[in-house]
């Protein structure tokens, strides 16, 4: 089907001659995924079905306390300083963004009156501006009205380098102007297809201008409201002890009718993930527990307690094995893994392909991660509209042996293959974490059968994931052949996620290993596709470009994806909570309620 035929079909849906479902089915028949087809409609101005508001309570309050357990307590409550998700979650009880993401990666309005699109004039045709209409009648907890000035202020506050806001990345390259009291316009220097970064989701939470205006820039630490948040959210601030507890009470003038349901909320921190799961699943002491990085076997056992169930939120977080394109054992100008070198073994395509065949992803899923890690061939696994259908994975030791044999890697007397006197020996590192060590063992075993010697190395997580310039064992230094870790996908858009495959992001001594391309894999085509996607306004073409980057990187084994990891939480059996992997766990807190 060509572009014109497609546009014709969309016009038919608009005109009511073709139902949305028929359209989506036809697209699926063409090999497109359903969400992609839905997105085609939404981009073209056909209203998307509203998120099902599965909310039963008919009045505000009366739900008693909501008790949730975070095994790492929130340490600060200013969303612009949030270091981890725990801080974003703590802030989200009180603060709200203009819009948020649902579990499928679609946006729904929170403080905005509607989601900007081409039809309502919110998006400009050239992709260089977005106009947000704000919801009228919204009040801060102290009774002051929420207006466009607050939105503009949040941009000024976060984009000032002296504030040192962790949200600065979303705000520094945009301009925000007030149109009227309830309208703001975001201006981009270049056409920006992913315009929903600023003011949306975890980095979009709004702090009130009237309390923070005097504490912008260098004085940001002194603001009293850092510790006593005043937001627009469903719950008002009561008490906060860093690392221990955040407490809120019902906001009786909340801007959504009949909400919230609970009279108070208590977010308790500390302890460990297993006992947090226990407190929800087995004893029912708590209603909800966050981020349960617990072996699935244990979760299944705890679930038999019958007091609750585990919930997997879809995310794009991917556990993967990176192959070093540069030589980690030769030092050039004071750095190893320098871009001036080539890896002596891993530049051979046959070796890369063989390694790809030697990772038994199904075994890793079945024996290590269970429901918390799904075997995959792709680096991008969600949202569905960006997922490639072209990649396949396979575990086949015979085929790996055959490929190596054909490429001239012959087995020596010790069973290790070698070519031109270079034996196939690799050092394979990861952080210390039981599932990862088990994973290493599975790979090592398969490699042995193919005549590849793997030396396993594990580094303490606090070192491996640190940004210490002087420590050679951090993952961005990548001073070894192969390494494994998880890259998190912070937004339902792969732009930031895929920048680890572009040449200008290579981690080097020069940029103090701050670059995001850790494997130092460089491919001109991938660079081109990524750049084109940066300014491509057609969502279908843009998705295709990102899929191309994914396919190039995975096809060449720049990385070997292993499993993608949903976010696991435990929900008490009475609690009805919708959690989106693309936003804070509390992204939809206003709709949480308990069945009687």
């Amino acid at each position: 089907m060509d572009e014109q035929a497609l546009r014709g079909l969309i016009a038919k849906v608009k005109g009511g001659k073709l139902s949305r479902r028929d359209f989506v089915n036809r697209m699926i028949a063409l090999g497109l995924t359903a969400p992609l087809a839905v997105q085609m409609l939404s981009y073209s101005g056909v209203a998307r079905a509203q998120m099902k508001a599965d909310y039963k309570p008919t009045k505000r309050g009366g739900g008693g306390p909501l008790k949730v357990l975070w095994w790492q307590g929130a340490t600060l409550l200013n969303p612009h300083f949030a270091i981890g998700t725990k801080d974003q979650d703590g802030s989200r009880i009180f603060y709200e963004p203009l819009a948020s993401w649902d579990p499928d990666g679609y946006m729904f309005p929170v403080l905005a009156a509607e989601i900007p699109d081409l039809e309502n004039g919110g998006l400009s045709k050239d992709g260089k501006s977005v106009t947000w209409k704000l919801k009228p009648g919204v009040q801060w907890h102290d009774g002051k009205p929420f207006t466009a000035d607050d939105v503009v202020f949040n941009w000024q506050y976060a984009s000032d380098p002296a504030t040192a806001a962790t949200t600065i990345g979303s705000y520094k390259d945009i301009k925000v102007e007030k149109v009227d009291d309830l309208t703001v316009r975001v201006l981009f220097a270049n056409p920006t297809p992913f315009w929903a970064d600023a003011f949306v989701g975890v980095r979009g939470m709004m702090v009130p201008k009237h309390l923070f205006a005097d504490y912008s820039g260098a004085k940001s630490r002194d603001a009293p409201a850092n510790l006593k948040p005043v937001g627009t959210g469903p719950y008002k601030f009561v008490d906060f002890k860093p690392g221990d507890v955040v407490r809120g009470e019902i906001n009786t003038s909340y801007h959504v009718e009949n909400r919230p349901y609970f009279d108070s909320v208590e977010m308790k921190g500390g302890g460990d993930a297993v006992s947090a799961a226990r407190a929800v699943l087995q004893t029912g002491e708590y209603d909800y527990a966050w981020n349960l990085q617990v072996e699935d076997e244990i979760l299944l056992r705890l679930e038999k307690g019958g007091k609750g169930t585990t919930y997997m939120s879809v995310t794009g977080n991917i556990e993967h094995i990176g192959l070093n394109s540069t030589d980690p054992w030769t030092e050039v100008d004071g750095e190893r893994s320098s871009m001036k070198t080539k890896h002596p073994l891993l530049t051979d395509k046959a070796v890369r392909r063989a390694l790809g065949l030697l990772v038994d992803r199904q075994a890793v899923q079945d024996h290590i991660y269970g429901r918390t890690g799904i075997a995959t061939a792709n680096f991008v696994n969600n949202p569905q509209r960006f997922v490639s259908k072209n990649m396949k994975w396979e575990f086949n030791i015979d085929k790996a042996n055959q490929i190596l044999e054909e490429a001239g890697w012959k087995k020596g007397p010790d069973g290790i293959r070698a070519k031109d006197g270079k034996p196939l020996k690799f050092v394979y590192q990861t952080s210390i974490n039981t599932p990862r060590q088990k994973n290493q063992a599975i790979v090592k075993q398969a490699c042995q059968k193919a005549g590849i010697d793997m030396e396993l190395k594990s580094v303490t997580a606090s070192v491996f994931f640190s940004s210490d310039v002087a420590n050679p064992d951090t993952y961005p230094h990548f001073y070894c052949d192969i390494e494994m870790y998880t890259t998190t996908m912070a937004q339902p858009d792969p732009a930031q996620f895929l920048n680890q495959f572009v040449s200008w992001e290579v981690a080097t001594k020069e940029n103090k290993w701050q670059g995001r391309n850790i494997t130092r894999w460089v491919n001109e085509e991938a660079d081109k596709a990524y750049k084109a996607a940066d300014t491509e306004l057609d969502p279908i073409k843009r998705a295709a470009l990102y899929i191309k980057v994914n396919d190039l990187a995975c096809g060449d084994q720049a990385v070997i994806p292993v499993v993608y990891r949903p976010r696991v939480s435990a929900i008490g059996s009475k609690l009805r909570a919708q959690v989106s992997g693309w936003d804070s766990d509390f992204g939809n807190l206003k709709d949480w309620y308990k069945d009687a």
């Binding site: 306390p65 357990l69 790492q72 307590g73 340490t75 600060l76 270091i83 380098p161 002296a162 040192a164 806001a165 962790t166 600065i168 990345g169 979303s170 520094k172 980095r203 630490r221 510790l227 008490d239 002890k241 860093p242 690392g243 221990d244 507890v245 407490r247 108070s264 208590e266 308790k268 921190g269 500390g270 302890g271 460990d272 006992s275 407190a279 087995q282 004893t283 002491e285 708590y286 303490t460 606090s462 070192v463 994931f465 640190s466 940004s467 210490d468 420590n471 961005p476 890259t487 998190t488 912070a490 937004q491 930031q496 996620f497 920048n499 680890q500 940029n511 103090k512 701050q514 995001r516």
Partner: protein, 319 residues
């Protein structure tokens, strides 16, 4: 007495300085970075981390950072936490009540159990009571708190469902209900810690009393026709208490320092939990402050123990 105290206090200054230098050096040399989590998040540009490091003075040379810390500390400024950006003294004060209550009660429980049991066992050595007390004490201090803690949780929270295993610093209840809830949630952590301390303390008390009870003056006291009660309480226990006081005095700083493992298991928001989370997030100012205060308390309680000896045993003079 006065000059002795003064001398001890003056000696304490260089040792505290030494402790602070060692602590600071170890923390500075340890791997890790308070903003490490920012590094792995693709949405946060590296400049933010750089700016924060400069802002918090992390890029200065270590000796300079130490001097900054020391001069601020001398002015009563404990600095602020990198993680929460709150003043460290506020953080510590927030955590102190829970620790004082739980660990203090545990120490009291330990004393209440150990003193009578130890003394009674020593007055009847190798009797059935002594054998049982010894065995239990042996079991008690052989089992680590993380084990007994989990065991109690399994039995009383999960199997029987009697007690909560998450400790909450602020219970949303008033009056008797509050006391009842507080009692229910404290009973497990206090028992775990108290019995662990009590077990070793019992052994100490028993051997200290045994040492004294065979001395001639005790026989003399008995020969004078004094009642057994008076002999034990007035003549034996007072003399036997000297080594026990040392032990208790050295334990007391722990009342302020918290119990890392137990606090973690029961989620008690105490100093120990604060310390461990600060260590894990490389929050140097908090780790420095907590460990340094702890060092000060150890030095102080040592001095206190020495002064107590004089009161318990008039033969000791502070000339």
């Amino acid at each position: 007495m006065g000059p002795y105290l003064l001398r001890r206090l003056v000696i304490a200054i260089p040792s505290l300085l030494g402790i602070s230098v060692v602590l600071f050096a170890v923390l500075a040399l340890a791997p890790g970075d308070p903003f490490g989590e920012l590094a792995t998040n693709p949405a946060i540009p590296p400049e933010v981390r750089m700016a924060l490091r400069v802002k918090f003075g992390l890029d200065d040379p270590v000796p300079l950072r130490y001097l900054h810390w020391l001069s601020a500390m001398l002015h009563g400024d404990w600095g602020f936490s990198f993680a929460s950006r709150i003043n460290v003294d506020t953080l510590i004060l927030q955590r102190l009540p829970a620790t004082l209550f739980v660990i203090g009660s545990a120490q009291l429980l330990a004393l209440v159990v150990a003193l009578p049991v130890g003394v009674y066992a020593a007055t009847r050595p190798y009797s059935v009571f002594d054998q049982i007390a010894n065995t239990l004490a042996f079991v008690g201090f052989s089992l680590p708190t993380f084990f007994t803690g989990l065991l109690l949780i399994l039995v009383f929270s999960i199997q029987l469902d009697w007690l909560p295993f998450v400790y909450r610093a602020d219970i949303d209840a008033t009056g008797w209900h509050w006391y009842w809830e507080q009692f229910r949630q404290s009973i497990m952590p206090i028992t775990v810690l108290g019995l662990f301390q009590g077990a070793s303390l019992t052994r100490y008390v028993r051997s200290a009393v045994l040492d004294v009870i065979r001395l001639d003056y005790v026989t003399t006291a008995r020969a004078k026709g004094l009642g057994e009660r008076t002999v034990v309480i007035k003549h034996v226990v007072r003399n036997a208490m000297i080594p026990v006081v040392t032990l208790v005095a050295l334990q007391l700083p722990a009342v302020f320092g918290g119990a890392i493992v137990t606090e973690q298991i029961f989620r008690i928001p105490g100093i120990g939990a604060l310390l461990i989370s600060a260590i894990l997030s490389n929050d140097t100012p908090v780790v420095m402050a907590v460990t340094f205060v702890f060092a000060c308390l150890v030095v102080l309680f040592n001095l206190l123990a020495d002064v107590m000896y004089g009161w318990l045993d008039p033969r000791i003079s502070f000339g």
